[in-house]
Symmetry: C2
Subunit: 90 residues, 2 copies
């Protein structure tokens, strides 16, 4: 049961980290950020940065590694959203 528990934990981390890849690719390709919430990506990117700091403080690579990847992907999406929010004046 312990192996299953660990597997579920790894699967959870891999899935939630990997999930931001298709969104980042889609956003970069389409440049469409209209339906993306600026509030979500601001809070989320800040949250992932906190996870990264927390991981560094604990010297825990299982926290550092996925959050470093997620930070790059979410930060990329956030940058596009900010750029399009302030460059377009509807």
């Amino acid at each position: 049961m312990i192996i299953n528990q660990e597997l579920i934990g790894y699967a959870a981390g891999a899935l939630t980290t990997a999930s931001f890849l298709p969104q980042a690719i889609m956003t970069i390709k389409t440049k469409d950020t209209s339906a993306l919430s600026l509030g979500m990506y601001s809070l989320f990117t800040l949250g992932v940065l906190c996870w990264l700091i927390y991981g560094v403080q604990l010297a825990n690579y299982a926290i550092i590694f996925p959050n470093a990847i997620t930070l790059v992907l979410a930060g990329c999406i956030l940058s596009y959203k900010i750029y399009h929010s302030f460059s377009k004046k509807p």
Copy 2:
């Protein structure tokens, strides 16, 4: 320093969980899911479900509680995305 570490951890969890609220509200209000990636929300919702199962297996409420909230919010966004992906035939 331990208090600061714990605070960073709690802030990280609160921010990444709370971040899905503005996106869910925006998606419900505007019904616009065009820029949202179906791949992202499918993988992410499945990942959060894994985190929830992992939390239940460990009987760890610090994992269960935020992931239960995130599952409802991400699941709600995913439902809208699926509904709009398959109801509209462009």
